[in-house]
Structures are given as C-alpha cells and as structure tokens.
C-alpha cells in the first residue's frame, strides 16, 4: 500500500512538472525557425539578425496577439546547404515536425531553398527568404498561389534586379575610367564562376555590355573552387581589358581578387563578389583585394534611410562585424512578421498572408513592397528601384569597405539624382592610373 502511494505521488509530481514545463508554455510563445548554414558567415548572419530581433521584442514583453502577449522563441536549424541539399530538407523537416515552429526565416542557396520552400508550403507555414535570389522561387507563387502563398522574399533583390544593378555599376565604373583616364572605348572581360546562378548572366553580358558601348574581350568561366586563376588573369591582361566584370559567390572570389591584386592586373574589378561583401575579405586576400567593387546591402557609414544607422550600430556593437544581407532576418521579424501578427491578432497563416502581401514598410536597407507579375498575380517578391530596394555598390578602399554607389544616380532620364548619405567617390587603383595616364 505504502509502495503504491509512493508511486502515485511520483506520477503526480511528474504530471505537475509536465504541466509547468516549457512545452506547456508553448501556447504563449511564438516559435520562429531560423534556418541557414550555421557554420558559415551566411548562417551566422541569419542567426545574428534573428537573435537581435527576438531580444528586442522580448525586452518589450513580447508581441500582442489579440489580447494575449506572447514572447518570441527562436529555433536554430543548421541547413548545411552548401554541402548537402538533403541536410537542408532534414533540418526543415525537424523545424516543421519536431519543433513545430510557427514561422520560418532564412535559407541561402537556391537549390536548397526550392526544396525547403515546398516543405514549408506543405505545412502552410510562412517562410520569409533571407538569402536566395533566384526569380523562380517567387514565380512559383504567381503560378500556384494557393500552394506557395506562404512564401515571401525578404532579402536580397531577385537575380534579374541584381543583374540590372550590376550592369549599372559596371556602366558607372566604365564612365569614370573613360573620363579620368581618357580611354576612348572601354574593354571589358566577363568572368563568371561556373554555377547555376551565373548561367544567364554569362550569356547575356556580352550583348548588354556591347549595347552599353563597351567592347567585350572574352568570357571566362573558372570553377567555383579554383585555387589558381593566374592563367585566366594572364589571358585577361593580354586581352587589354580595362574592366573585369566578375560574378563570384564562392572561394574563387578570394583567389581571383588576391591573385589579380598580387599581379597588379591593370583592370578594375566590378560586379558581384559575395566574399568581398564580408569583413573578412581584406584579411583573406591579404589586402590584395583592394579596389574590388561589389554589389552589397550594407556598408559601414552609409545610410539608406533613418533605420540604417541605428541597426548597423547595434549590430556591430553586438556582433563586432558588419552585417551581411542574411541578417535581413532582423527585418523579417521586426518589421514584417511582428507588426503583421499584431495587426492580424492571430497566428493564422492565411490571415497573416492577406495583410503581409499588401503592405509597404521601411527596413534598414530601404523600403519593401511586394510585387505582382504582368498579369497582376502576386509574386511576393520585393520591389527594386529608387525609394525601394536598390542595393549598394561598395568598394574596398585601403582596408575599409566604403559605399560608392548610388552617387548622383539617375534611375531614368529626368529622374532626380540619388545619393545615399555616407557615399564616397569611387577610386581607381594607382597602377591602373599609372598605366593609362602614360
């Protein structure tokens, strides 16, 4: 009898413990899954941005969902997507089935995001993309709205607009070189790593650059992980190129910049070099990446709007590095999810989607509005252009990543000039000035 009572007491205690355990509090917590390659800069950016957002929300007591105030709980998922798409889908599966998250932010590599997107949509969970640029991820929303409406792009601008902005950058650099070095016709070499995202751009670049009045001297396609590109650089130098229009997202971006700097190749490098967007680029290239210009989202000292400086200062103070665009998880939670949840007064995904897709709101990198396609169908893609998201052109200048574009940029004939606060003039490498001034 005594033994039975003891067992009953243990069981009762266990039930009581379960009743007050965090799982039981789940109803009062909004769970946000943060998915990304956590051993890499991109994933760390995802997590850092989300952490900052969750801390800010929880510091003010949480979010009001109707009459109930709920705190935000983040769940980290390492997608390892650089190495394995399967790892990414497994991580997403865990978020959806075991952690039972309410929302998801993150993702980086298009191939992985496409697979993860399908899974999140199956569970009707809102997934805010903070990494992949492919247009296809959003065209899916237009083509099959009922299935894919829970997907929204938060950052970056899509591949088409990344391309458009990069061509504006190369045109700007070409004009500067033409003016200051008296070069009658700019010659450009196109160098695009062999990857899915550069297929289109490597094909259209020669035609577009020719239309822009440049002479294209050749297209080179090194491997993403090439450890020696001196052969390509020698060939480019021999072609007489003034500009190297490069497209890199992997380690070849470091190799290329380092070797080009070491050999003092007389051509300015401009385009997209994901590695050059990071603080570590200077050390990784041993300072040889000087004068590299790349498209980017943030730069120290550049203010796109009134939200940029406070965000940048807090982020740098907290994490001791400049945010990459993947830290857009901060915007996704603070400026997108949080106000919409409070407005919807529910966590119901369908009600949130209905509000989210019609909003316009400011984030530290500009303003976000969700676009529709030519047929008026929702894309849940972000709008590019003056007043919205434009991205920045940044250049490494003696160890610092400076914002150099937009600098008196006119989006169209007769349009007002745009210059963000903190933008500095573009610099041409001294060995190039020396060569062409002679």
């Amino acid at each position: 009898m005594k033994k039975t009572s003891f067992l009953l007491s243990i069981l009762l205690a266990a039930f009581l413990l379960m009743a007050v355990s965090p799982a039981a509090w789940g109803a009062k917590v909004i769970k946000i899954g943060v998915i990304g390659p956590m051993n890499f800069v991109q994933g760390r950016g995802h997590w850092a941005g989300a952490t900052m957002a969750a801390e800010e929300i929880n510091a003010r007591g949480g979010l009001w969902v109707g009459k109930k105030q709920m705190k935000v709980e983040l769940v980290q998922a390492d997608s390892n997507e650089f190495l394995s798409v399967t790892d990414a889908t497994n991580a997403m599966e865990l978020l959806l089935t075991r952690n039972k998250v309410d929302f998801i932010v993150g993702g980086f590599r298009t191939e992985a995001v496409l697979a993860m997107q399908d899974m999140a949509m199956d569970y009707k969970k809102i997934f805010l993309g903070c990494g992949a640029a492919s247009d296809e991820i959003c065209t899916r929303v237009a083509e099959d709205y009922n299935t894919y409406k829970y997907w929204f792009r938060q950052t970056p601008i899509n591949s088409t607009n990344l391309g458009k902005t990069s061509f504006i950058h190369v045109g700007t650099v070409g004009a500067i070189m033409k003016k200051y070095l008296n070069i009658p016709k700019i010659k450009a070499a196109v160098v695009a790593e062999k990857a899915q995202w550069t297929e289109g751009i490597s094909k259209v670049s020669p035609a577009v650059l020719s239309k822009m009045g440049m002479e294209v001297v050749g297209v080179w396609r090194p491997s993403q992980v090439a450890t020696d590109v001196t052969a390509e650089l020698s060939a480019i130098q021999r072609s007489g190129a003034h500009i190297i229009f490069n497209w890199f997202s992997a380690s070849v971006g470091i190799t290329f910049a380092r070797q080009a700097g070491e050999l003092k190749i007389p051509a300015m490098r401009v385009g997209i070099n994901v590695e050059a967007q990071k603080d570590g680029f200077w050390v990784a290239t041993q300072g040889m990446g000087n004068y590299e210009m790349t498209l980017n989202t943030y730069a120290r000292g550049v203010e796109v709007n009134e939200l940029t400086a406070p965000f940048m200062n807090r982020y740098i103070e907290r994490f001791s590095e400049t945010p990459t665009y993947n830290a857009g998880t901060y915007d996704a939670i603070i400026y997108n999810l949080a106000p919409v949840i409070e407005e919807a007064e529910t966590l119901d995904a369908d009600k949130i989607v209905a509000i989210m897709e019609n909003r316009e709101f400011a984030v530290p990198s500009g303003k976000i509005a969700y676009t529709k396609d030519a047929q008026g169908r929702h894309l849940h893609d972000i709008k590019w252009g003056p007043g919205y998201q434009t991205a920045l052109g940044v250049q490494w200048q003696d160890g610092e990543l400076k914002g150099v574009w937009p600098n008196r940029w006119k989006a169209a004939e007769g349009a007002p000039e745009i210059t963000y606060k903190g933008i500095v003039p573009y610099k041409i490498a001294p060995w190039i000035i020396e060569k062409y001034k002679q």
Binding site: P37, N39, F40, V41, R44, F82, L83, E193, K194, G218, V219, W220, R221, P222, S223, Q224, V225, A226, T227, D228, T230, A231, E232, S234, A235, Q237, R238, S251, I254, T255, R258, Q259, E262, L263, K264, I265, E275, G280, V283, A284, T285, Q286
Partner: protein
C-alpha cells in the same frame, strides 16, 4: 621577315606558352608532392590512404593558426605544421590503419572516414569561412610581358627541391632501400630481415610528411577551407592511376601531364575553364583504356 601582324601573333603565342609552362609547373608540382606521398605508402604497405589530402588540409590550417592566431613567422609555422602533421599521421596509422591493414576495403573505408572526421573537426574549430596565409615573398616577376608571382616561383622551386629530396632518400639511403625493397616484395623483404611493419610505419610518416609539405608550399597560394582536400584527392588519384599504382616515377610524370593538361584547357578554352579537372580525368581514362596498368605500372597479371 614576318609582317607586323604575324609578329604580334607569334608574340602572343609565346606569351601563352610561357603562361602554360608556369601554370602547368605549379599545378604539376603540387600534384606530384601529393601523389608521390600517396604512392609511397601504397607501394610499401599496400595502404590506399584516402585521408592523404585531408592531412594536407589540416597542415594548411596549422600554418594558418600559427601565422594568424599565434603570430609566428610563416616559415616556422610551416615547419611546425609539417612535424605536427607527421605525428598526427603516425598516430592515425597506429590507431586506425595498422589494426586493419590486411583488409584493403576496410582501410579504404577507414581512411575516408578519417578524412571526413578531420574535415568536420576543422569545420567546428575554424567554421566554414575562407582563410589565407600571407605570401612568403610579395611581388611578381615580369618575363617578356608575362607576370609570375614570386610566391609561385618559390612554390615551384621548393616543390622540386622536396621531390629531389624524396628521390635522394629513396635512392641514396638505407631507409630508401628498405622502402623500395618492401614495395617490390613485402614477403621477401621480411625474409631478408627487414622489419616490414616498422618500414610501413616510417613510410607512413614520410608520406604524411609530404602531404604536410604540399600544404606548406600551397597554402600561401590557396584559400584555406575545410573542403580543400576533395579536389586534390580526385586529382591525386587520377595522377597515381595514370602513372601506375605504386610507381613513383609514374606519379611524378602523371602529375605534370595532368597539371599541364589543366593549364592548356584554361588557356585554349576560356569558356570551359571549369572543365580543366574533367579534361584531366578524361586523359587518365584514355590512357587506361590503352594501357590499363597506367604509364609506368606493373601489369596486373604480372603482379599476381
């Protein structure tokens, strides 16, 4: 007397040839360092060490850590890394390889697992960020308009010196004789009083040491990351198969053949530069179709 246009074409071709020679020599030397180390241990102990290039990756990280985190001189960091990696290699041999040495398939699986483990450990310690080590010599040399970085020249020279050192070790020392005898016939070497097991262990040390040397000569030119061992592993296997499994001469020549093949692709097909690895592997397949034992290998029938 050729016209101006003809002269320009000739000059342009001579530039290209010089480029191909430089680039081919660098690639070939690194592959040779890796492939000879791999062939040594395969020849002497019939161990297919698929973790060979992972040791090269760990050596690169040791050098990075020494120069960036401890602030020691790169040359000293390289020497420490080579010694450290040799010791790690010997421990790995004793713990993971020696107990299963007689089971070739098990060795194959164990060494690939070891490589993956090393990759994950480096990923945990250093994350996936790309890192680099400063060049030992800055600047470049310009020969008839072709720019060659001093570091590249140094890499070629050091690699060739190390290869000469390995040749001297094998041909001029008693240890070299023991390694060669064991490679020729393990049983006979044993019967002649050689401690075959000890020779295998020493050869493993030399082999991993060579991987460390490869890491040391390459690291100022490379981007250090946890996955940097994969591509060299494929190329190294291609080199040893092309040259003939276990043949040191074959590995040396095979390495330069593939190194030059890669350079030729980059220069002649700029749009297909990413194909350089595939073209090198195709050359290997073609050679194997014509000569299955590789360029300098022993025919399988003969070996049996």
């Amino acid at each position: 007397m050729p016209s101006k246009e003809g002269r320009d074409v000739l000059i342009s071709y001579s530039y290209m040839i010089l480029d191909i020679i430089t680039s081919g020599l660098i690639n070939g030397s690194v592959y040779a360092l890796l492939a000879i180390g791999f062939s040594l241990i395969f020849g002497a102990a019939r161990i297919v060490n698929l973790a060979h290039t992972a040791f090269y990756m760990v050596a690169s990280y040791c050098i990075y850590y020494g120069t960036h985190k401890m602030g020691i001189h790169p040359v000293l960091a390289m020497l420490v890394a080579i010694i450290l990696i040799t010791l790690i290699g010997l421990v790995c041999y004793k713990v993971f390889i020696n107990p299963i040495r007689e089971h070739e398939a098990a060795v194959l699986i164990a060494t690939i697992a070891l490589a993956m483990a090393m990759q994950e450990i480096m990923l945990l310690i250093f994350t996936g960020d790309f890192r680099s080590v400063p060049s030992l010599v800055a600047g470049y040399l310009e020969i008839i308009g072709v720019k060659i970085a001093y570091q590249q020249l140094l890499t070629i020279c050091v690699a060739l010196l190390i290869l000469a050192g390995v040749w001297a070790l094998l041909k001029k020392t008693r240890l070299g004789l023991a390694i060669r005898s064991t490679a020729d016939d393990r049983e006979v070497a044993n019967l002649m009083g050689m401690n075959e097991s000890r020779v295998a262990m020493i050869t493993m040390g030399v082999s991993v040491g060579l991987a460390g040397f490869a890491g040391a000569v390459v690291v100022p030119l490379a981007v250090v990351n946890p996955h940097m061992w994969m591509h060299p592993l494929i190329m190294m296997l291609a080199v040893v198969v092309l040259g003939g499994l276990g043949s040191l001469k074959g590995s040396f020549i095979g390495a330069y053949i593939l190194g030059f093949a890669e350079s030729l692709v980059v220069f002649l097909i700029p749009l297909g530069a990413f194909l350089k690895g595939s073209v090198a592997l195709c050359i290997m397949i073609m050679v194997l179709v014509i000569r299955p034992e590789g360029l300098f290998g022993v025919a399988f029938e003969e070996e049996r």
